[in-house]
Assembly symmetry: C2
């Protein structure tokens, strides 16, 4: 019988879960102190909501769920879509927008949401990618000002630092800046979406690749591409104090408020202890719903970003009918648990009882150890003594307490630390 | 647009999540000290495993998932089963048996497993029942002796007490005892499954209802039913010290080891501080896979049980090929979070800033409060002052710190406690 988990999914063994729980606890504690409150939505959403265009490419990766009560034999001409009413969520943003639209009247204004939970995408299985994985999102809903961006970035850099990920860099840009830059370089509005898709590949294919794709595949004039590149390069390594002025200079069509907001975020990040930041004019971020500032966090030990987010002022309006400003930041939880070390286990004592020791005595000995504050579990003596001690140690026990028949029940022996072959360390 | 969660599911707002997280934390901490380690398996399992008969009635309530890559238009004569390869798990026991069979060589022996996670059942929506709900299971795998039962019950009563549920009663029985009792009363082996199904309804329909159903619907002779009732009534309120003797007397065919094991568990529970227990000869528990002792925990404030479990020595063998003894206990998490009170919120301060206070100042004020150990979030001043303070209080803020332009930035005002209309409490 095949006892492996379903294709593309994985089981988590105790050591992995302990690390994940520890990292989650550290992150959540930081977010909690910023006032973010955890909410939870079901894994299942109506199929109409999951296929409404909000998820981009993710909508092609849906796990779709059969209606209940269907006849087992289908009539000719049945379309798959008739059979499906639900799907598994592919992210936590779609559920959040529904949640906010549903409970707005009861929620604080602005609402600080923390979410942690599994999402599902039927991606082609590959190393390190799973069809069920966890997302860890904070969102600040109802805050129109750049306070949202600054707070989300501050909270997330602190959360990552708490999890042990120091030395991160925040990369900052703005969708409205990108549009103005493209326009200033001569990229027409209708060509801009494709321009950004290609620009997004810069870290993978370099300027030669980007230029070739823009000219050969997208048909942009070479001088337009050169102008865009010039502008982008002149905006690299922009110091915080100069952001507004240089942007106004290089991207003349950029609304003043956009430049001022970018400068506010930049100044704020520049003044924060322990935060490295950079204006990144090549940052695009995939999702179509961003409307303002966008940001990512990178770490020297990780390829790509370990967190990303941005402002999406129009998304909640699609559910609610009224526009509500919103901004979010998502930590790549699966990526960061791979970066942090494993969790050192605490003291664990095995009450190693001979088979003829009464059950009640073995349990009582474990209870007395727990009352002293340590983790304690009865384990029956079996096989060669040394070999069993080696196994106990490999399972994470740090000491053992031997119980044999006829011992004084009031006077427990001292636990003996576990070293190789049971010799004290 | 309909923003409610999918039919039969629900969203959890911050206050509900806070209570659940608190209760889970208290339970998990007790189980952790007993040496139980959390594992996690995916929500999705192969459909063959979910329809192998292990789940009883739950298998009829499956959420089935469409294969990926199907043509949207189905050929004539397609059967539903051809379209499905996965389903959502309906419990945590099926995944545990698969998990143990897969990783046995790496796991401690015996293995103490803790699981907490959502399961899905497409039940007809009704008040208080949801199609996604959480289960909270501990299992002790690889321990053949009654140490498993005694430890699981001790740990679970402690976990419930830690969550605030005192005054619980443990009800204990044994599947082998039930079979011997039925045989002794004259119920043939082939009629016993139906006999137990009806007996299981005793707390709902009483002895009159049970007798009528056994005689009229199941065709048992009235004198057999009367004999069974006699035996059962003579076993009610059995004191711990008498369990073995009385059982031997009333149920002559009962194997001595079964009676001795029941006596061991009973004696152990009777000696535990703060535990009330009862031998319950009418306890059946629904699942077909139990092979030995079964148990439930009841609480005065809850109809039915709040936790249940038992020994299932044959289940893992179906996956592994080798029989492995196992015993488990499952807390009805959704039921107990309804019994415990809501979680008192801690101190939360709103930094109430006028719109023309710079973003960096509002954020810096919140940061300084957090550095003093409290939860702090900026909230923009809006509307009537008193009304906003009332709203802040209703959202769980306990104090506010007013920020206006031109204040000394080094010297923060003292936070003011929130009372009705913003008057200090």
């Amino acid at each position: 019988m095949d006892n492996s988990p379903a294709r593309g999914t994985r089981d988590l063994l105790p050591a992995a879960v302990a690390t994940r729980d520890r990292v989650l606890g550290l992150i959540q504690d930081v977010y909690r102190r910023f006032g973010y409150q955890r909410i939870e939505t079901p894994a299942l959403e109506r199929i109409e909501r999951l296929t409404a265009g909000q998820g981009g490419e993710n909508e092609k990766l849906l796990f779709r769920i059969l209606r209940r009560g269907l006849n087992e034999q289908l009539p000719a001409g049945t379309a798959l879509t008739e059979l499906v009413d639900l799907g598994l969520r592919y992210d936590l943003t779609v559920p959040l927008t529904r949640f906010y639209a549903q409970y707005r009247a009861e929620l604080p204004q602005p609402f600080r949401s923390f979410q942690f939970g599994p999402v599902w995408r039927a991606e082609r299985p590959q190393k390190g990618r799973y069809r069920q994985f966890y997302q860890c999102d904070i969102d600040l809903v109802g805050e129109p000002s750049v306070l949202a961006e600054a707070e989300l970035i501050e909270a997330t850099t602190q959360a990552l630092a708490a999890a042990g990920l120091d030395g991160t860099t925040v990369r900052l840009s703005d969708r409205r800046f990108l549009a103005a830059l493209a326009t200033a370089a001569g990229v027409g509005v209708e060509a801009q979406a494709g321009f950004f898709v290609t620009l997004d590949k810069l870290d993978k294919i370099g300027w030669d690749g980007v230029s070739a794709e823009l000219v050969d595949d997208r048909g942009l004039p070479a001088e337009v591409v050169a102008a865009a590149r010039d502008k982008i390069e002149s905006l690299t390594d922009l110091p915080a104090g100069k952001v507004a002025d240089v942007l106004a200079d290089v991207v003349p069509g950029l609304p003043e408020q956009v430049a001022a907001d970018l400068a506010t975020t930049a100044d704020y990040l520049a003044a924060l202890d322990g935060v490295t930041w950079a204006f990144d004019p090549t940052l695009v971020r995939g999702m179509g719903y961003y409307t303002g500032q966008i940001f990512e966090i990178t770490h020297p030990a990780a390829a790509g970003s370990i967190a990303g987010g941005g402002r999406y002022d129009e998304l909640i309006g699609r559910s609610l009918g009224t526009e509500v400003p919103a901004c979010g930041f998502s930590i790549g939880f699966e990526r960061i648990v791979d970066l942090v070390g494993t969790t050192p286990a605490g003291e664990r004592i095995a009450v190693l009882y001979e088979a003829d020791v009464p059950v009640a005595r073995a349990l009582a000995a474990a209870r007395r150890l727990r009352e002293q504050g340590v983790v304690a579990s009865p384990v029956r003596r079996s096989g060669k003594f040394g070999a069993q001690l080696t196994r106990l140690e490999s399972w994470g026990f740090t000491a053992f307490l031997p119980l044999v028949p006829g011992q004084d029940t009031d006077e427990l022996p001292q636990p003996r630390p576990l070293g190789r072959d049971g010799t004290p360390r």
